[in-house]
């Protein structure tokens, strides 16, 4: 039982703390509403095809590991600058500082004219070409391929259909492979009910606003929870900048090419063809057991977009002898772009890759 004096003292402390928070909120959002800059690490564009760009980060003379590290992010949905969000909260910056020769395949801003972009073009043209250009720019023989989210699905599909790919290692981060375990999206995209064809026919792409609505519906309370977190942490150094940057990114949706969305909803979420070896591209069956590269497979324990089992299944189907699975605390994005990623995922990737490229 708390004494009255103690209670009053706690209440006073609490009141003062909340006044400080209110002051910090006013300072951060009213007095200084500016948003932090995005894409903090310097890069040069190595290759460009339409909207697709291959970016190379960092300075050449600081590279310690000669094997290029190519990041392939998700296609559509949102922009990849969450990988290079803020100084000190950037996976790209971290890897560059550790001496990796980092590349990013940027799919660009998807719009109606990209409706025909699907797995075929990504897997048989864009990824191979990006790898070629990265190898040429770095004067290397092999790369480390890092697929993130649907980029991991594309990466796995590429490796499964290109057994002689110049890829030394494969890092798959929260990449959906077993769509049977695909969480709520699996339920919603049920082909008996979801009018995927109608959407593609009508818009050509899955529009950004529908995409945003779908992701927000997954967790309708997320923004309220984020605001509550902001109130609690507003006085922590760097928290507000991080909140602003993340909040901007989280509302900056882009569309998804119609063809890719159709394949994803029907063949992946609908029939789960990839893991069953029934997915056929350009007449070739995608057989994930043909992947032999050393594999680091990462999942997040609170991921409601790609639940951990959906990502973990890659471990069961590849033929790689050297393979490791990690389930880290965090959500789908925070696992690779949160404050704790600095202590968990990024050092792990650096260590794992460094041990295999030198």
């Amino acid at each position: 039982m708390v004494s009255q004096a103690e209670f009053v003292s706690r209440l006073q402390e609490d009141l003062q703390e909340n006044l400080k928070r209110a002051q910090a909120m006013v300072d951060s959002f009213v007095v200084n509403p500016a948003e932090p800059p995005i894409e903090v690490t310097p890069y040069e564009v190595i290759w460009k095809r339409g909207k697709v760009r291959l970016l190379r980060y960092g300075e050449r003379d600081k590279i310690k590991h000669q094997t290029p590290y190519l990041m392939v992010p998700w296609l559509g949905i949102s922009r990849p600058y969450v990988l290079d969000l803020l100084p000190g909260n950037s996976m790209i910056e971290y890897l560059v500082n550790q001496g990796h020769d980092v590349y990013l395949l940027d799919w660009g801003e998807i719009a109606a004219e990209d409706k025909e972009l699907g797995f075929e073009e990504a897997v048989f043209k864009l990824i191979p070409r990006a790898i070629d250009r990265a190898l040429e720019a770095s004067d290397a023989q092999e790369i480390t391929l890092n697929g993130i989210c649907l980029g991991g699905t594309l990466g796995a599909t590429y490796l499964a259909t290109h057994p002689d790919a110049p890829v030394k290692n494969f890092v798959a981060i929260v990449a959906p492979i077993n769509f049977e375990e695909g969480g709520m999206f699996r339920v919603w995209l049920d082909e008996r009910y979801f009018p995927a064809d109608l959407i593609v026919e009508h818009y050509g792409v899955l529009p950004a606003n529908l995409m945003g609505a779908g992701f927000k519906m997954l967790r309708p309370t997320l923004e309220a929870q984020a605001l509550s977190g902001l109130w609690a942490n507003v006085n922590r150094p760097g928290y507000v900048d991080n909140y602003k940057a993340m909040s901007r990114w989280a509302n900056d949706f882009i569309g998804m090419p119609g063809r890719f969305f159709g394949q994803l909803s029907r063949q992946m979420y609908g029939k789960n063809q990839l893991i069953q070896g029934e997915f056929v591209l350009n007449g070739r069956r995608v057989d994930l057991s043909k992947i032999q590269q050393p594999l680091l497979c990462v999942a997040a324990n609170q991921d409601f977009i790609v639940p951990s089992p959906a990502a973990r299944s890659l471990m069961d189907v590849v033929s790689s002898e050297d393979k490791e699975f990690m389930e880290l605390p965090g959500g789908h994005i925070s696992v690779f772009s949160g404050r704790q990623a600095h202590q968990t995922l990024w050092p792990k990737i650096d260590e794992w890759v460094a041990a295999r490229v030198n």
Binding site: L11, R49, A111, W188, L198, H202, L210, A213, G214, M217
Partner: protein
């Protein structure tokens, strides 16, 4: 605020409001009169104004299915949430400070998230969502069929390109860029082959020269 009875009062009021609004909705659906929350075939973007969109009582939702379904579905959501909320409040003392209140708010948000997840992971929800989207898309299509010729005519009058003309232009520019990239790729391949053939010719020459040298030495 420690007893369950007190805490559920606002909830009951909300449920009551929800019940009344769905009754209105059902009546409107049964009588074929316009939807009380949104005009029929409104042409609004499906899913706009999330996360409330699609929820009866939050506006922007035309009933695409039997009137009883959404009531049951969302009733289940409210029951789940209210149950979890009551359990939370019963298991902890009322907030003594702002920090306690904030913690309780976070717990309630978590409970609400769970209730949403449980409700929205059902086949019923998928069915409703699909029908809602389908209806929205058809409505948009009808609206586009009506509006687009007028918009195009207006843009022509202003000597401006229409959206479809701009799309065609983008596709055209993109295809030119892609063809250029394909040509560049071909040139790169040819260069590589040329370099490879040059280096193999050079090595053949070196080999034949050294063979010739060896033969001359032998003959000497």
């Amino acid at each position: 605020m420690t007893t369950t009875e007190n805490s559920t009062n606002p909830f009951e009021a909300w449920q009551e409001m929800f019940r009344k609004s769905t009754e209105m909705w059902q009546q409107a659906a049964a009588s074929g009169s316009p939807n009380p929350f949104w005009p029929p075939n409104n042409g609004g973007m499906p899913g706009m104004g999330m996360p409330g969109a699609g929820m009866p009582g939050f506006g922007g939702f035309a009933p695409p299915f039997a009137a009883n379904d959404p009531t049951a579905m969302w009733q289940q959501f409210f029951n789940l949430w209210s149950q979890q909320w009551s359990q939370l409040l019963a298991s902890s003392p009322g907030p003594q400070t702002f920090s306690d209140a904030q913690k309780q708010w976070n717990d309630q948000l978590e409970a609400m998230a769970k209730a949403f997840a449980d409700t929205m992971s059902t086949e019923d929800f998928a069915k409703a969502l699909g029908k809602y989207m389908e209806q929205g898309l058809h409505a948009q299509e009808r609206m586009a069929d009506t509006m687009n010729p007028q918009i195009d005519a207006m843009l022509r009058t202003l000597n401006m390109p229409s959206r479809s003309q701009m799309n065609r232009l983008f596709v055209h520019v993109l295809s030119i860029e892609e063809r250029l990239d394909d040509m560049e790729e071909e040139i790169r391949k040819l260069r590589k082959e040329q370099e490879a053939s040059r280096s193999s010719t050079a090595s053949r020459r070196r080999t034949s020269r050294s063979n010739a040298g060896a033969e001359t030495e032998t003959a000497d």
